[in-house]
Symmetry: D3
């Protein structure tokens, strides 16, 4: 029977023991969207230097490396690869991340946090123009590697 991660039988939090799990290559992908007014998206893409998107992408990459400090019970992972892409999409912009590691546990949270932090850094830049912007649909898209095997959104 599957159960909550990081909680023991009595519901007490602890960092689960992964020392008996195999070190394997693991990949996780996530995504979210930032809902923005079309005029904000247009202004973002008209910026001559493109720093706004670069800042957000970097914020996502850097956050992925710090999951162990932000998520109390997450294990420390040395990531092999992080990529964050931000592109105009229906209703605003879409943020997509990919994280690869070679470890005893997967990088799902790392991929999720990369997206949410990139989206927040973008919000931080547009908030003077559009304070009400909404970040939505933050979700795991796929993961592979590890004992629980592959998983893909929408595939049962």
């Amino acid at each position: 029977m599957s159960s909550f991660s990081h909680l023991d039988q009595e519901g007490r939090a602890r960092m689960v023991d992964v020392s008996e799990k195999a070190v394997t290559r693991r990949v996780a992908r996530a995504s979210c969207r930032v809902l923005l007014d079309p005029s904000t998206v247009e202004r973002l893409s008209e910026m001559p230097k493109g720093d706004a998107v670069a800042v957000a992408r970097l914020a996502g990459i850097q956050a992925a490396k710090r999951v162990d400090e932000l998520i109390p019970l997450a294990h420390t992972l040395n990531l092999d690869h992080v990529n964050v892409e931000i592109e105009p999409a229906e209703g605003g912009v879409e943020v997509r991340s990919e994280v690869v590691c070679t470890a005893r546990t997967g990088a799902e949270i790392e991929a999720m946090l990369a997206c949410s932090n990139a989206a927040l850094a973008l919000y931080d830049m547009v908030k003077a123009v559009e304070k009400g912007a909404v970040i939505t649909d933050l979700r795991l898209e796929a993961k592979s590697g590890g004992r629980s095997g592959d998983w893909q959104r929408g595939v049962t």
Copy 2:
């Protein structure tokens, strides 16, 4: 004319100069939802010790204190108060945050990050049970204080 925060005329990123702004009391509130299967919500609330929700709430509070490290161009704020509440809501659970500071700039990002990180910490605990859980509707609810005055979602 209002414009993007943290970007100069040529679109280059920098931390804006707030040294001429007044130190005032500022409040920001944000919220998001974690969409969960009803059985997951039920299991969460049946946990005898309630640590799952306590962990998520703490993760939100702690993240609010570290905005300056996560959001590249955000100013460092010494927060006076942070609260995070997590409660069952339609479709899963709702996360709400409130942040107070006495500073030259507001705590909107702090309130947003408190919600997103609490939600991610919750996801980290339920992911073995429900990997496809979605975090949604992360948004500022209200802010007060500072030169730009009060703002409330849905109020024009």
Copy 3:
């Protein structure tokens, strides 16, 4: 002849070279006590939500992951498992930790810091009630793994 860790022949600090040591599974356990007035212990255990103890336990787990930042010459370890338990004991409460890693060096300091930080977080919550509370008997209980072999308190 055994000598001080991290100091060279002239007494200068450096991070010792462990690159030739074997990667093995290592376990460390530590403990300490927080001396508290019986009425404080009673009030702690009467708290309806139990968050006080959950906060302290989390503070211990999180600190164990950050030893490399706090102890200047400690190596960075990716921990496989951390557990912290807090229970009423004679004279107050007892804090016990267990840390597991698969690494070139042991997790003794990680186990010690998990206890001291959990105790300090607990003190942070009771200090309005009992400012004079004392943290005592912080010590390694046992360690296993690595070239120097097993060690247990009180066993020669």
Copy 4:
């Protein structure tokens, strides 16, 4: 009636609101001891460069600056002054700290953590020689400033 810091009426953790408290100069002093074999103390003081004690003192000072990351519900304080002294004492060495800040809340935890982290850094250096060394009597010695006024150990 005095009650636990950081817990609301239902026992839920939150960072208490200090925005209405006055900014005043606050001082806190703490101490602890590291029980060591006389031969270890002698070897420490014979080290030609004295780096061992310098490392421990620095570890204490640096930890005081990071209380907000280690103690989940502590406020961020910009410290005006931190000093840590380590001296031979009966049964080993004594660690004493003093912390000064100008803030809405006091630096008691900062002074306590400065001592415990200095002691742990010292333990980290002597552990190859004396794994069973014990850190003990970590306690606040005195605090001044703030609404609750002055407090001194042993003075009722």
Copy 5:
């Protein structure tokens, strides 16, 4: 007589007490150069997205916010403004920073670290092409504010 910062009469390190100093607006500017082959500079400026320079500029801004963690005896400052500029110059590129704060102590180290970290981030990107690149002439250009008054390089 002027003397070393952060060292007491016996040469022991401590964080000096600034609680009696006035809170004033302080500005510091620094610079350094990264010596690069002309072909590397050309390739940098030909990159279509300009992310290389954006990454380096951000690395400088972010490092300025973390001086208290990197420089053991530095005080924590909440910075009002940080800017980093990187431009082609004789022999490679020049990095210039400006930091503003309202505090009891100045931001000289913050301005210096902003430059050195921006330069290192740039080196991190060109190192596959030009491993031998040299960072040079890292220095304070000017500072104003505070009791010691204004200072400018080359002006006696």
Copy 6:
């Protein structure tokens, strides 16, 4: 054809995928100089406790462990060994570092940052005496291990 690290074909920043690279022992050495007035160097070496140099050396060692937080696209490395030496040299003092790791990517940036941060910590201590001190010639001296093989300054 060799190209910039961390930038894709379109010049966008990402953390490169090293998951297919071999885990090998890697060593990097770097150096820099701090130009100081002879009287400042003399005063430094006359300090009775030698803490000034110990602080700078520690600052270098600690910075090497935090490269992943400071250099946005750097991978997290668990270092096996870090040493920093500071000695009087022509025109001031020389800082030399050596870093060893067992990893999929090298520790060149770690060695460079160890030197620059040690130099900045030293500047932080002498700045009251000699504000115009210059840090110069920060450069990689040698690296070994990994697919690109050995490299040594001045050897073609």
